[in-house]
């Protein structure tokens, strides 16, 4: 059997059986990647399903992506090739995938032909070679990832200041100045929520609020970083307000309360539901306003803490630090998550 007619399948796909019976079909199907016909292998893997496993892409494409022909995960590590290449890039290594994509079928086939030629010129790389290569890469990856903490790049947007004349009427209607005091805001069941990171998942908010009663609706506008939560009943809304009020993060009761959901910080206050931004221009304006308000509120909080703290500012520091320790220990990978969220808030 020549090298070209062989196959490259990961052990997970082959299954645990010691003896595997395979059916080989020459030119049995077109490769899903490069559309050329290739030799298809089919075999049963009883531990996975009763359907026959088969190879989906040709050997050339599999070698180009360094993946299994059947499951298309990386052949050495068993992880998605996209993630593998991202990790390699992070560590400053060459991505293993040499496959170029094209929308043209013809071009794809031609490129795959060229690849195949170059592979055959390179000659046969033994299995041992491949294994040691994979080990080497993993080792390098481990060292690089841990020696250079170039983990997460923050957004490098240049800070803009909202032009007060330019701020649309829409943002003036939004209840930034409200607080969480239930008796001051009678008869409403909606909360205004703002200042959350732009990648805050909506289900986090939904889960946090559904604990206190049935939620009528949640609207989050991620571009302008504000939104509304509305409850069906006043009691559940009050319970929600109380829970945020008493979570220990809110020192100044006159301003909107702080809420941290899995490392995503945000501010919550009572507020009647108002239409949010509809166009990208409005989004931008409101996001600038939100950024400004967040800054002001933080300053207010600091002033408040300073006037209130009788001893010194160091006390509030230790207090907050002990608090964040406590909250961080609750979560899985606290420093990383929080770091991400906070970094997002720094540089807007």
């Amino acid at each position: 059997m020549s090298e070209e007619e062989s196959f490259s399948v990961c052990p997970t796909c082959l299954g645990n059986d010691k003896h595997i019976r395979m059916i080989k079909q020459d030119n049995g199907a077109e490769c899903k990647q490069c559309t050329r016909p290739f030799t298809v292998y089919r075999w049963g893997n009883r531990s996975a399903s009763n359907k026959l496993n088969k190879t989906l892409i040709c050997l050339t494409c599999a070698r180009a992506k360094n993946c299994c022909q059947s499951c298309m995960l990386d052949i050495n590590y068993g992880i998605p090739t996209e993630l593998r290449d991202t990790a390699l890039k992070l560590a400053g290594l060459e991505p293993l995938s040499v496959l170029k994509s094209s929308t043209n079928r013809e071009v794809k086939a031609i490129m795959a032909d060229k690849l195949q030629e170059s592979f055959s010129k390179q000659g046969k790389t033994g299995e041992d070679d491949n294994q040691t290569k994979a080990r080497d890469i993993l080792m390098k990856l481990a060292q690089k990832l841990n020696s250079t903490p170039k983990a997460i790049e923050g957004p490098n947007t240049n800070p803009e200041v909202a032009d007060p004349a330019n701020v649309s009427k829409l943002s003036k209607k939004l209840p930034f100045g409200n607080s969480l005091e239930s008796d001051k805001h009678q008869d409403i069941t909606t909360f205004f929520i703002f200042g959350f990171p732009k990648d805050l998942p909506q289900y986090l908010v939904a889960k946090a609020s559904e604990e206190y009663g049935k939620v009528k609706g949640i609207v989050l506008n991620h571009d302008s970083r504000c939104g509304f939560i509305s409850f069906e009943k006043r009691e559940s809304a009050e319970a929600f307000a109380k829970s945020i009020d008493e979570n220990g993060l809110n020192k100044n009761k006159k301003t909107a309360g702080l809420l941290v959901l899995e490392g995503n910080p945000m501010r919550v206050c009572w507020g009647k539901q108002k239409p949010l931004a509809k166009t990208s221009h409005e989004n931008k304006q409101i996001s600038l306003v939100v950024a400004k308000v967040m800054k002001q509120l933080a300053e207010k909080d600091r002033d408040f803490a300073r006037t209130k703290a009788t001893t010194s500012s160091s006390k509030s520091n230790t207090k907050s630090s002990s608090h964040s320790d406590k909250s961080s220990s609750k979560r899985n990978k606290p420093s990383q998550v929080k770091y991400k969220a906070l970094k997002d808030d720094f540089e807007i």
Binding site: M22, P201, A298
Partner: protein, 340 residues
């Protein structure tokens, strides 16, 4: 992607303890059940009209809709069976005798990278109209929903309808284009929601068309996506490093015999030529650890210092300052620059 784990949640959740509901009775459907004519010829394979002028083509609302609470239940599905596509569309006529699952996809479900949660093979590229199963080269959790009737509170309506099929991460409504982009938490939820909401309405007369979304061209969104991917990659590599060390502690040497059968179609009655090859392709686990112990220790040490460093950073800040403070964090930024 996700490892298979037996979930005890299934037994806890009520819907799965009852048999799956029969969604349609095949007897009630007339044989000549065609959608309203929108083309010149009727394609019996796709049950669609084709040909003619595309401008006159109209979308017809689907007659069936899945109701997860009412319809889901146990079927004859095995552990690794896919979800029933007709269940998702609301028209499975087999009920409890269906060989596929009648329930929502779970994040713990095992789905091969090359298939969607309904067991359909993915393709390398998207279809031109972005419909269909999707691509195996990219994990896409975002759906494009067109044909919306824009009214106040449309986001809430979308949330209500789509959250039935899984956790929603983000909804972005483009008001002047009357369409929306919905990002689900898991890819499988997006796949299910796509099939379930195809040709449905949001309580009105509109007919939605749900497609896969293209990549967001907004540079900021792309940065976010890149960062998310990088974090995911880091996480995966960490897990990989941990698992390789676990594996190396109890090395097992395996060899496999692979028998390849070549069916010979022309000649009948001839034994298929059976070749037995030692599978050189099967990587056998070797006893040599991938990383020497000293490296691992080093790695662990560095990792510890890293996390400590980060924690200190976050604790140094008064939390409220950090949350809203934009001006006072210059020192912090400098610190990060120093890190780079």
């Amino acid at each position: 992607m996700s490892p298979t784990q037996p979930t005890n949640e299934l037994t806890k959740v009520d819907p799965m303890s009852k048999p799956a509901r029969l969604q349609v009775d095949p007897a009630t459907i007339p044989d000549s059940d065609k959608p309203p004519q929108s083309g010149t010829t009727f394609n019996i394979w796709f049950l669609k009209w084709s040909g003619g002028d595309s401008s006159t083509r109209s979308f017809t609302q689907s007659k069936f809709k899945v109701n997860i609470k009412r319809d889901s239940g146990y079927t004859k599905a095995q552990t690794r069976s896919p979800i029933c596509l007709f269940f998702a569309r609301g028209c499975c006529y087999r009920g409890k005798s269906c060989p596929y699952f009648h329930r929502l996809p779970l994040p713990t479900d095992y789905t091969p990278t090359t298939q969607d949660c309904f067991g359909r093979d993915k393709t390398a590229e998207y279809r031109d109209d972005m419909d269909g199963v999707g691509s195996f080269n990219k994990v896409n959790r975002t759906l494009y929903v067109g044909g919306l009737y824009i009214k106040p509170g449309i986001e809430e309506v979308i949330t209500k309808f789509f959250s039935e099929f899984g956790d929603i991460e983000k909804i972005k409504v483009i008001h002047n284009k009357s369409c929306a982009f919905i990002t689900m938490r898991y890819e499988s939820s997006a796949q299910f929601a796509k099939e379930a909401m195809q040709n449905q309405s949001l309580g009105g007369q509109e007919v939605l068309y749900v497609r896969w979304a293209n990549e967001d061209p907004n540079p900021e969104a792309q940065r976010h996506e890149k960062r998310r991917l990088e974090e995911l990659a880091l996480e995966t590599v960490r897990n990989l490093l941990n698992s390789t060390t676990d594996q190396d502690s109890n090395p097992t040497k395996r060899t496999k015999t692979v028998t390849v059968e070549e069916p010979q179609e022309e000649v009948v009655g001839v034994e298929p030529s059976i070749k037995t090859i030692e599978a050189s392709e099967v990587p056998s686990n070797e006893s040599k650890p991938i990383l020497s112990n000293s490296t691992l220790k080093k790695v662990a040490k560095i990792r510890n210092t890293l996390t400590v460093h980060k924690e200190i950073k976050s604790t140094n800040e008064n939390l409220s300052t950090v949350l809203g403070g934009y001006s006072s964090d210059e020192d912090d930024e400098e610190e990060q620059d120093g890190d780079k």
